[in-house]
């Protein structure tokens, strides 16, 4: 399936891109992040991230659909 993935903060710096289209067999965000960690060398573990799917927080195991926008949210530091 094809997903759109956005990157922010240290993940963006590490990936070197703001966003990408990802062709993947992963059916949920957990599988997708495992793939992307390998590809981009992210050091951040899943436990430190939240997931957003199509602009809303979602559980890691929520099934992904073709065309979904997936964002891995590192610990926030606004304010």
């Amino acid at each position: 399936m094809n997903y759109r993935v956005l990157y922010f903060a240290s993940l963006r710096d590490r990936a070197g891109i703001d966003a990408e289209q990802v062709e993947s067999r992963a059916g949920d965000a957990r599988g997708l992040y495992a793939e992307l960690r390998l590809r981009h060398g992210f050091s951040m573990t899943e436990e430190r991230l939240r997931v957003a799917i199509n602009g809303a927080f979602a559980p890691w195991e929520q099934p992904l659909h073709d065309g979904d926008e997936v964002v891995f949210i590192p610990p926030v530091s606004g304010g």
Partner: protein, 138 residues
């Protein structure tokens, strides 16, 4: 009303919008860019946001505050982009009939915004280094 802003925040205009004949108290919080953090000299900050979700989550924080505290109105604006030392990074304002609720709600809102809303701070240090803050790093 929760907004992200790429330009300087006009605090006075925002406080004005909270006015109401039934409101006897208005408490505001302003977060300013400090010249140091944890002992390191800071030159400027960069704020990045996942705008779609930041606005949705920010509005959720404000709605929860309105339900939880006896307030008349509440609003928050957060800067994104590059900010120099002394600039206003985030503004929270709450109006209420009485001051207790205004103080409590204002403090709760800034705590929740810092905890939940997808906005990230990149500190640029005097020594030329920089780094994203991901607070539970520690």
């Amino acid at each position: 009303m929760f907004r992200l802003s790429e330009i300087p925040i006009d605090a006075a205009a925002l406080a004005h919008e909270l006015a109401d004949a039934g409101a006897g108290a208005c408490v505001t919080f302003e977060g300013w860019v400090r010249d140091r953090n944890e002992g390191r000299a800071v030159r400027r900050l960069g704020y990045q946001a996942y705008a779609l979700l930041a606005v949705a989550e920010g509005e959720r924080v404000l709605a929860e505050a309105r339900a939880k505290f006896a307030v008349v109105d509440a609003a928050c604006v957060h800067r994104v982009g590059t900010l120099e030392v002394g600039e206003l990074a985030v503004w929270v304002g709450v109006s209420a009939a009485h001051r207790g609720a205004a103080f409590d709600a204002c403090r709760w809102i800034i705590d929740e915004v810092k905890r939940r809303v997808p906005i990230w701070k990149n500190e640029h240090y005097a020594d030329g280094e920089s780094g994203w803050l991901h607070p539970d790093n520690k």
